[in-house]
């Protein structure tokens, strides 16, 4: 019989489905801490999803948890998944090597909690505001001071309470502009944080503690933030209230509309028809495509288009457009909104049966 350590509150993790976005200084430490804690307590997760766009480099051995020579050159998601499986062989781990804004929305849908371990405000806005909040998934987001101070920050964002951008000001939005690459096909190289692994480990530990409290007590506690300074032994906790002047619309999309046909054979006309069935009396319908519809304004990513704007392309297959099987297309009609679900499992099963 294996000896089990007693880990306070470990049972709240049982069967939970988690997503970790970003596997750098904080994220690489977080998945290992999580796996070890659950292995020690004998608790099994339902699912662990990992997403990161970059690969392990030799320099990452200094301040990230990738210290094996054979990991260099491998995607971080695969290296981290391998380590988790070595500690918890029975946990289901899914990986995706992609930018957050390219990851299909459905990948975030059936998740109990997201961990944000990201290196830019733009990525945080994408994860928290454009993905998790819309799908009603809480996020525990961590950050470190990149300037060498031992200062860490953990922010818990619960949909319905204060959002990520409720604490943002002009300086944050200016910072987002600086993070945007000049060339349309270009992207900023991953920010290599100067924070030591010690700080990443500390933030990861605080994030896990916040997540355990959230999973155990539910979302009633609302959004909050913890900032700590390891060098000076200070810790500041604050509850975040929704800001009246926040620029985010705070809309959580509750309704789901099945497409009725599988992704491979469906066309844009099917999407329009599904939306018109759902919003029969809503009048002017609008559609938001996650990666845009065409490569020119006003058809770019996350732009609202009217049904009439889509007619010229209505006979095109979804597979020909910048869409993926797990994507969601947001529909707005009057005061209501909904997601059209592109991976309609029942429709696929029905087609297979025929």
């Amino acid at each position: 019989m294996t000896d089990r350590l007693k880990v306070a509150g470990a049972e709240c993790w049982a069967g939970k489905r988690l997503l970790v976005a970003g596997l750098g200084n904080i994220g690489s430490a977080l998945v290992l801490q999580l796996a070890r804690m659950l292995a020690e307590a004998g608790v099994e997760l339902g699912l662990l999803r990992l997403i990161d766009r970059s690969s392990v480099a030799a320099r990452h051995a200094v301040n990230q948890a990738y210290d094996r020579a054979d990991e260099v050159g491998r995607p971080k998601t695969l290296a981290a998944a391998e380590r988790v499986r070595a500690i918890c062989p029975r946990v289901a781990v899914e990986t995706l090597v992609a930018d957050l804004d390219q990851a299909p929305l459905g990948w975030f849908e059936d998740i109990d909690l997201c961990f944000g371990c990201l290196d830019s405000l733009q990525a945080r806005q994408t994860l928290v505001s454009e993905r998790a909040w819309r799908l009603n998934v809480p996020v525990v987001d961590g950050g470190v001071d990149g300037g060498g101070e031992l200062i860490g920050r953990v922010q818990t964002v619960v949909p319905g309470g204060a959002c990520l951008e409720c604490v943002w000001g002009v300086a944050h939005y200016r910072q987002i502009a600086r993070e945007t690459p000049c060339h349309p096909l270009g992207r900023r190289p991953p920010q290599s944080t100067a924070a030591p692994l010690l700080l990443g480990e500390a933030v990861a530990g605080a994030m896990l503690a916040e997540a355990a409290a959230l999973l155990a007590a539910g979302p009633a506690g609302g959004s909050r933030e913890i900032v700590f300074d390891l060098a000076n032994g200070r810790r500041l906790e604050s509850r975040i209230r929704r800001a009246a002047g926040c620029r985010y619309d705070h809309a959580v999309v509750q309704r789901r509309i099945p497409l009725g046909r599988s992704f491979g054979i469906a066309t844009l006309a099917d999407v329009i028809a599904a939306a018109e069935r759902e919003f029969a009396a809503a009048g002017d319908l609008q559609f938001e495509f996650p990666r845009g519809l065409l490569d020119r304004p006003p058809f770019g990513p996350r732009r609202w288009l009217r049904a009439g704007d889509l007619l010229a392309n209505s006979d095109r297959g979804l597979a020909e457009l910048p869409l993926a099987p797990l994507d969601r297309i947001r529909i707005r009609g009057g005061e209501r909104d909904a997601f059209v679900v592109l991976d309609d499992a029942r429709a696929i099963a029905e087609e297979l049966r025929r």
Partner: protein
């Protein structure tokens, strides 16, 4: 409380205006906060431009909300003709669009386009001579007048991309590193009208 801000679009003055309006249809829907922001921003810019002669003309082409603009600059920049000759050039027309989520997200490729002239082609590291795409750092919620100033600085080479790998025109990037040490135009964007007042001599 700002009160009701009325907005009156400018008349289409030329074929370029008509083309911009046609290409930019349909006008997106704006919430009340963004609509008010755009009206206020346009009013502030118009008031500043009315103070005196400048190097820019700002024409608002949006129907109900000032979201679409033609900006015509007389800033002296550089252009390259079909023979490859780089020459000073002081006629630039740029389209500017403010999209409905502008207070949270500002994507410069969706917002800005160099309309003309294309022959000679604009010659600048941050302007694609083929597509007219412009790379300019715009932050969400930036005022119209600030963007106009930034474009002036870009056209006169005060703002430019120094990294060839991230530039929209690598030739211009290389050219500028070797040959452009100072801004190509040192005139202010918005001058002040020079007033002569003659005092009647005492009789």
């Amino acid at each position: 409380m700002t009160g009701i801000v009325t907005y009156q679009p400018d008349e289409c003055q030329n074929a370029v205006d008509l083309l911009l309006v046609t290409q930019s249809l349909p006008q997106p829907q704006y919430d009340a906060v963004t609509g008010d922001f755009l009206r206020h921003s346009h009013r502030e810019c118009a008031a500043r431009l009315a103070e005196g002669d400048g190097l820019v003309q700002v024409v608002s082409l949006g129907r109900t909300v000032p979201w679409l603009f033609r900006l015509s600059f007389r800033t002296r920049g550089l252009a390259r003709d079909a023979a490859g000759q780089v020459q000073p050039w002081d006629d630039h027309t740029i389209a500017l669009r403010f999209l409905p989520d502008y207070l949270r997200r500002a994507q410069h490729f969706e917002m800005l386009q160099y309309v003309g002239p294309r022959e000679p082609a604009p010659f600048h590291p941050n302007i694609c001579p083929h597509t007219g795409a412009i790379c300019l750092e715009i932050y969400p919620g930036e005022e119209l007048l600030e963007i106009v100033y930034s474009l002036h600085d870009l056209l006169r080479w005060r703002l430019r991309q120094f990294s060839e790998t991230d530039a929209l025109n690598r030739d211009a990037c290389s050219y500028g590193r070797n040959l452009v040490a100072q801004p190509t135009d040192d005139r202010p964007l918005l001058g002040r009208r020079f007033r002569l007042e003659f005092l009647e001599s005492a009789k």
